[in-house]
Symmetry: C3
Subunit: 143 residues, 3 copies
Amino acid sequence: MPVWQIYCPQHAFNDEEKRDLAGRITGMYAGFLPRFYVNVLFRPVPSADFFLGGEPVDDFVHLAVDHIARSIEDPANQRLFTDRCIATFTQFFADRGLRWELHVDNTPFNLWTINGLIPPAPGSEAEAKWRLENRPSAYEMVD
Amino acid sequence: MPVWQIYCPQHAFNDEEKRDLAGRITGMYAGFLPRFYVNVLFRPVPSADFFLGGEPVDDFVHLAVDHIARSIEDPANQRLFTDRCIATFTQFFADRGLRWELHVDNTPFNLWTINGLIPPAPGSEAEAKWRLENRPSAYEMVD
Amino acid sequence: MPVWQIYCPQHAFNDEEKRDLAGRITGMYAGFLPRFYVNVLFRPVPSADFFLGGEPVDDFVHLAVDHIARSIEDPANQRLFTDRCIATFTQFFADRGLRWELHVDNTPFNLWTINGLIPPAPGSEAEAKWRLENRPSAYEMVD
């Protein structure tokens, strides 16, 4: 968590731009989540396979996000999140002549596992350790 | 919203058929949503990477849909929607010797943004304008 | 249902290993679901397109699962499921030097269709017939 799938035109971004975008996305969570929680996948789609409103597109990016470690449920925090996304991406995509759309799903914390471990509870000491060390490690679970 | 991901055998559809399918899908929403809300992505999967019941398949299509702008929650409307999908696709896939499966997830309206704008509320004047013009535009939000 | 998308490094698995993994996954559900319900898709991602914690990765697998036919809602059963996944995959991935993460979403049973049919209710006679015959067939729906 989170998992960001970025459906984009082929060759929309070079390696440096991909790394830049992945860094911006990771930075959105770095204040409270382990960095290694953040998955970013670029998924180039040929124009003949990518339709918007029934027409093929080559200037459009769809970012599909799954949130797992934290669900944003209340409208005020949802708005903070979308505002943060808008601030993070609008100029970047506009500079490249790209239209964009983003949507997020919340998926269950309890149906999630990393490297054979159950991720620690939000705000727990173990989560803080995972974040500090930027890697998963065994810990004593409180059931 | 909606986002349709069509996982299909490689070369299952030519460009004309892809455009036809994207048009049918877009048409399912055209009575009430802006056309540009409808994302359709074809995702060809090699047979060696696509398993059904543990066996590789080359005659199967899985359509995975995210609904954002509208969630279909009550059973009667859910049934109307699946019936509409069945009417739209059954003959098309049968004619090509393809088996198929479709499933839909509902994702939160409030965690969605298009081109740096918050999409207007369902049924609002601003949404009607977006639909009429088939493009997003700034509007006065009522919070 | 279920749909397993396995995002993995290119060439992480040969065809035999893919079939092995697809078989293990299908086996997780074979005691109660028709085998043909289980979709497994391998989605190789080039290292330059796959970031974890902001860094490109070539030793990481993310398994993203949609559950449709059954939703696991209570914490005890969720834990049974994640434990089952851990038992199924940990050694397999460790043997290949791969880190891994898995997350599951629950999606609505009523927004699902297979080959133009509405899948039978969980535990129904029709579902048992589908499972026995390992194929969908028309049945009398009780509305």
